[in-house]
């Protein structure tokens, strides 16, 4: 039975739950917008990385270079899209 629950995945699940708990502090505790956003950015991106590396097995095969390059590219476009939009529409620069 225990062979069905590999330690690495169980620990990653527990870690994800802890990160969710940390993210929740921005709701339950009183803090400034800047600190809250910093916490959320860190917990969200760390949790996404755990999913990619552990659960999606991104780095296990010989095409890992292509897979990571593709993901970095997608995230780069995503960040440019979001930050570029914020820059023009919200921050008025």
């Amino acid at each position: 039975m225990s062979e069905l629950f590999p330690r690495k995945q169980v620990m990653s699940f527990v870690f994800s739950l802890i990160l969710t708990g940390v993210a929740l502090t921005v709701y339950f505790l009183d803090m400034s917008f800047a600190i809250g956003m910093t916490i959320l950015l860190i917990t969200a991106f760390v949790q996404a990385s755990v999913q990619l590396a552990v659960f999606m097995h991104a780095g296990e095969t010989k095409d890992k270079g292509s897979i990571y390059l593709n993901i970095y590219y997608a995230f780069a476009i995503a960040i440019v899209t979001v930050l570029g939009t914020l820059l023009i529409m919200i921050w008025d620069m």
Partner: protein, 198 residues
């Protein structure tokens, strides 16, 4: 077809490896799709017009239930792939069923949430904010709905054909899709709900 037995079944043929890489590229495109939705959301989040603001309509309890259900389902689909790799077909199918039930639970809570929003006067046409909110959540929810049917068909095919390079490949690609949906939810949870309620 050449089969390489040193690799897990889902990677064992050239075609399988290309299928998986191809799906990663699709996920890349999906990341960009959700990026445009998030960009639009951040732009319109304060354009509430005469409608309610996020802080007035978001409730922590359903959001926490949704987060927990989806996070756990992402864990169980990971266990399903692990069981598949050690050749335990029945354990794999059990984890698949648990995953889909958790996904169904998530969808149930989200549907409740949507009817609640419409009921309290935050429909698709109320304001720019509610429009982009429901579009972003709805796009994710539609992906989960599609995933439920996809996963169901994979269960049926594995039951019928057993674990072959073909079915293992499909099951693994489904697991990538499901994990990706959890990643999108992490960002919705953080930057739509928690940011809105901060």
């Amino acid at each position: 077809m050449k089969t390489d037995h040193s690799l897990p079944l889902e990677y064992s043929t050239e075609q399988n490896q290309l299928n998986i890489l191809g799906f990663w590229i699709f996920i890349g495109a999906e990341i960009m799709l959700f990026a445009t939705l998030f960009a639009t959301y951040f732009t319109l989040a304060n354009r509430t017009g005469t409608g309610p603001a996020g802080s007035e309509i978001f409730e922590i309890t359903p959001v926490l239930i949704e987060t927990f259900l989806l996070l756990t389902s992402s864990f169980t689909i990971g266990l399903a792939v692990h069981a598949m790799r050690i050749g335990k077909k029945n354990a794999m199918l059990t984890f698949f069923v648990i995953t889909l039930l958790l996904g169904l639970g998530f969808l149930g809570v989200e549907i409740y949430e949507f009817t609640h929003y419409v009921h309290i006067g935050a429909g698709l046409q109320t304001s720019a904010f509610t429009a982009v909110l429901l579009t972003t959540l709805g796009t994710h929810g539609a992906h989960v709905t599609l995933g439920l049917f996809w996963g169901l068909f994979i269960i049926l095919q594995v039951k019928k054909r057993g674990l072959t390079p073909g079915t293992a490949n499909k099951a693994f690609i489904f697991s990538l899709y499901w994990h990706f949906l959890d990643i999108v939810w992490i960002f919705i949870f953080s930057f739509v709900y928690l940011k809105g309620m901060m």
